[in-house]
Amino acid sequence: MMQNSRLLQSLLTMAVLALWASITVAEVTGPTIPKAKEMANPDTKCIKPVEDMRKNHMHYLLHQRDETLREGIREEKFKGESLKECIGCHNAPAKDGKVARVSEREHFCNACHSYAAVKIDCFDCHADKPANTEYRHPLGGAIKTSQTGFDSKQLLNQPTLDPVAAKEDKKP
């Protein structure tokens, strides 16, 4: 009898905890990601799908930086893919004309990184705001696989990144 009431008590506590946790989770909102200067055209999208970019931007940047610095392959090949291009379009000036610095929540990169508590040191050296606030990179043109090793297809084949597969999973 004693054991039963203890079991009941612990079950009840767990249920209350679970309820509380679900309420807390429901209240948490994601980071507010600032909009780019221009919404991508529905035909071209952005340079890469959002899901891909969210998961793989660091791989693209890491790979690109070595080719750029060591081999001098710059804008043309990576149109839209370099850190300079990210900043050029995504860290847009606010309505009052103010451009967010990387230390602020309004900064495109920091909006997510401060939320995820992932410290980045890119902007210890790189400029955190666009040199030309009017600049917009061309959309939809940079989908290329590098000649020298990095294969973005490998990353895209990961199940979480395949929207077709994800859709099928959701089917009842």
Binding site: P49, E67, E76, P130
Partner: protein
């Protein structure tokens, strides 16, 4: 997930597959197909060797145009005085004690063919590009400053302080070593521009020409038709500390 996106991704996957096939190598470094564009879509090669020639007889004592232009182009500004401030190019005054003859010259990274800074770097951050430009890969520089010790020209600087307001074309930051890049951003922009009349010189050379002194040339040492190669062939050029056999990319005329 909208249908548009999945369509787009399918296309992307298709592109990925096709380009992976196109990129099949017949041997390491040899590809069946290559992007046809010239310029900065392709890696810099050893077909070029970028260099400078400086005529010290035309370089005016007291003129600082090249230094100012370099600082402006690459976003270099002072923090705590000359002992620690970064210096990519500096003016040096030489005085002959016997005759009293004074001459002035700009001194920067000499872009050696056999750079001692690259030899001593423990991480591979100090590197020479295929086209002869010596750079620091700040992504992997640990700030040990061995290269600064090794450089006979004292051409490199260490960044002691947190920096802000860097230029997009010249990333610089605390804890890394840096030096003249021969305005590599301009060199690469030139590679992407077929029209030679639109090619731009490094900031220092541009400023020297604009000031009317015209003491500096920039160009391809390997191109026999380039202005710098012609001038070198005609009048010769001296390496600083030629005894070290570093085969410098920056040459001087008129040092006595």
């Amino acid at each position: 997930m909208s249908d548009d996106t999945s369509l787009n991704l399918t296309r992307r996957q298709f592109l990925g597959t096709s380009s992976a096939l196109a990129g099949l190598a017949i041997a390491p470094g040899v590809f069946l197909t290559k992007v046809a564009h010239a310029g900065d879509t392709e890696a810099a090669t050893d077909k070029n060797r970028w260099g400078m020639l400086i005529d010290t007889s035309k370089c005016a004592t007291g003129c600082n145009e090249c230094v100012t232009a370099c600082n402006k182009e690459n976003g270099i500004s002072g923090t705590h005085g000359p002992a620690t401030d970064a210096q990519w190019i500096r003016k040096v005054t030489l005085t002959d004690k016997q005759t009293g003859y004074v001459q002035s010259l700009p001194l920067m990274c000499q872009h050696c063919a056999n750079p001692p800074c690259v030899d001593v770097c423990p991480t591979g951050a100090s590197m020479k590009r295929a086209d002869g430009i010596v750079l620091v890969d700040k992504h992997i520089c640990i700030g040990c400053r061995y290269c600064m010790m090794a450089c006979p020209y004292k051409a490199r600087s260490f960044i002691h302080e947190v920096l802000e307001e860097q230029k997009a074309v010249a990333p610089r930051g605390k804890g890394t070593v840096e030096s003249c890049t021969m305005c590599v951003q301009r060199v690469d922009a030139n590679r992407g521009e077929a029209d030679k009349s639109k090619h731009v010189d490094p900031a220092c050379v541009e400023a020297c020409n604009a000031s009317g002194h015209k003491a500096m040339w920039f160009g391809d040492l390997k191109d026999p038709d380039s202005e710098i190669a012609t001038e070198l062939k005609k009048h010769g050029g001296q390496q600083l500390r030629a005894d070290l056999q570093l085969n410098t990319g920056v040459r001087y005329q008129g040092i006595t």
